[in-house]
């Protein structure tokens, strides 16, 4: 087990390092940088000299390898550098916004699971019937509608039928808990539906597999009521793959809220990324992408370890 853990950890670090190189190179091969955007965006006439001086100040004129080594040594000390636009530390920019994104993601996961479990079970038990088909349509529809459009429709419906518009500025939990929650619930509903589709389909197929197992037949032939067979014997085992999928989807959500945050005007890390991309703020983009990848890999790693603990064959 220790060996498996260490080799997985090694792979984890290599992958993370690879993502760092990848995103660094990707941003550097493209023409244009933050200085161009900052000084020339309004069509302003700025001399090459001024631009060069600003580049030198931000360290953009140094060779690529120097920049990379610099960034890496900073990372080793958990220093992500400074945003090239606001010149505040990247860590500070992210940490002030990560909270709201995490809250939406957690709430979406809760909503997703609450929808997915009953739907997945119902469709597995009625395999092939009209109910199964209806659940399939509901799930595929959830995956097909663009989240930003669903968000707009939700806002529109609330405005037209309830005359309610979500607050435009961020409301803190400490100021007004209900106002804070009302900001989160709409995006969470939209994203939750999407999540529920993936989870419900996974649960359906894993439950169908489990229902064909010998021990389920044994439980049935013992004369146990069907309800107990399903809830106590089958569902427990069928939930594991569904929860894995839920975990991985959740891990993706941190970066996946990019579009949703835009619609609901939430000041989270997704919106920050769109801003950073628009401003060619390299250090901030690097920091964000690395954080998304890190988060995803941590969840992945945790799932792997959990499986190894539960199933010795995998070690």
């Amino acid at each position: 087990m220790t060996r498996y853990f260490l080799s997985s950890l090694g792979q984890f670090l290599i992958t993370l390092f690879g993502v760092a190189i990848l995103i660094f190179l990707l941003l550097r091969v493209a023409p244009g940088d933050v200085v161009e955007v900052k000084m020339r965006s309004g069509g302003a006439v700025v001399s090459e000299e001024t631009i060069a001086r600003e580049r030198a100040r931000l360290g953009l004129d140094r060779p690529m390898t120097t920049q990379f080594v610099d960034w890496m040594t900073g990372l080793a000390r958990l220093d992500f550098g400074k945003s090239m636009w606001t010149e505040r530390p990247v860590v500070e920019e992210i940490s002030t916004r990560i909270g709201i994104t995490l809250e939406v993601a957690v709430l979406a996961l809760v909503i997703g699971l609450a929808i997915a479990v009953p739907l997945g079970v119902a469709s597995a038990l009625s395999n092939g019937s009209w109910l199964d088909q209806a659940v399939r349509v509901f799930s595929v529809a959830g995956l097909s509608a663009p989240p930003f459009w669903l968000g707009m429709l939700l806002l529109l419906a609330l405005l037209l039928y309830a005359g309610w518009q979500p607050p435009i500025t961020t409301i803190r939990w400490s100021e007004n808990p209900w106002g804070h929650f009302s900001q989160l619930i709409c995006p969470a509903l939209v994203v939750g539906w999407r999540l529920s589709a993936t989870i419900a389909r996974m649960l359906r197929s894993s439950l169908l597999d489990v229902l064909n197992e010998d021990y389920v037949r044994t439980a049935r032939s013992k004369g146990l009521p069907e309800k107990i067979v399903i809830v106590r014997h089958a569902l427990g085992n069928a939930l594991l793959p569904a929860i894995t999928v839920a975990g991985l989807e959740f891990a993706f959500l941190l970066g996946g809220l990019v579009v949703t945050e835009q619609v609901f005007n939430l000041n989270g890390v997704g919106k920050l990324l769109v801003q950073a991309v628009g401003q060619s703020d390299f250090t901030l983009i690097q920091g964000l992408v690395l954080m998304f990848a890190f988060f995803f890999m941590v969840v992945n790693f945790a799932v792997d370890m959990l499986y190894a603990v539960l199933d010795p064959r995998l070690r």
Partner: protein, 298 residues
């Protein structure tokens, strides 16, 4: 002679009809998706004749008009006919969606087959690279790629946008095709081809790849759905298709809450077009997977 050829033609046609009817009976939802896709493709191909107005025609006397007999889906803030813009938008959505997913599946599929065929160190390196790309959320990678690559148009198609959508999907294709190719690579006839001295390229393209057409078909269909959704998201975020080109995602971007309360049709219909198209491809992809993949058949 002519009799035989007409007969042959008829048989072929009947077989297709029969196959489709059998498919429709077993997978009614998938068949519905296929029909919808055909309708959308026809609409896109014949857009100038199907659309009632020119999609670029502004009419400042008819700004934000509600749906009427003259404008079925109303007009937008420039007085352009929403229905015509949606019909013309289906061109870019389908063209981009199909090219991006074919390209992504081709790149990823080739890498996947090679990883399965060569195995060893090459396979290991490919796996790590796939892990790296897969750990970045799709939309994040696509957004950064689209912004970094900029625009490079070939005809009406923005090649860099196609790349930005294809690249994040390629590793997924590689992983799926690799696992499907592993079992094919172990077949005796591959060994035989190797013994016969065929080149690797000939074995991979001529002997392994044709056996992977089923998973590839499922993959591409599902990718088209993802790619259309991705294009609309990128256009919505302002790094995809730009004004005044008609694009579904673009039609939804920059609309303030106050505006869409006043003119909800400018929001409802383009979104509906995206949803229905993606829905159709997803249903077809699902049905194809059920039909072609023996493992998922329940």
């Amino acid at each position: 002679m002519s009799d035989a050829s007409t007969n042959l033609h008829l048989t072929a046609r009947r077989t297709f009809g029969k196959t489709f009817r059998r498919f429709a009976r077993r997978q009614p939802l998938g068949a519905a998706g296929a029909v919808l896709i055909v309708v959308f493709i026809i609409c896109g191909l014949f857009a100038p004749w199907v659309a009632p107005y020119d999609p670029f025609d502004t009419d400042f006397m008819a700004v934000l008009e509600a749906p009427s007999r003259a404008h079925w889906f109303g007009t937008d803030s420039f007085g352009r006919d929403v229905l015509s813009r949606i019909i013309h938008g289906s061109r870019s959505a389908l063209a981009l969606g199909v090219t991006a997913s074919l390209l992504g599946a081709a790149i990823g599929g080739l890498i996947g087959v090679m990883a399965a065929y060569y195995g060893g160190r090459f396979d290991m390196i490919v796996q790590r690279l796939i892990d790296m790309i897969l750990s970045i959320p799709v939309i994040v990678l696509a957004l950064v790629l689209a912004a970094v690559l900029g625009k490079r148009e070939i005809g009406a198609l923005d090649l860099n946008l196609v790349l930005a959508i294809a690249i994040p999907n390629a590793p997924r294709a590689a992983r799926i095709i690799r696992s499907a190719a592993l079992s094919v690579c172990r077949m005796p006839y591959i060994e035989a081809a190797r013994t016969a001295g065929f080149t690797d390229a000939r074995i991979i393209l001529g002997h392994i790849a044709p056996n992977l057409s089923a998973p590839a078909l499922v993959l591409v269909t599902a990718f088209v759905a993802q790619a259309i959704l991705m294009e609309s998201s990128l256009s919505f975020l302002g790094v995809g298709i730009v004004e005044p080109a008609p694009s579904w995602g673009l039609m939804l971007s920059g609309v303030a809450v106050s505006l869409f309360a006043e003119a909800p049709w400018t929001v409802i219909f383009p979104g509906l077009a995206i949803s229905v198209t993606v829905f159709a491809f997803s249903l077809l992809g699902d049905a194809l997977r059920d039909e072609l993949d023996p493992k998922s058949r329940s």
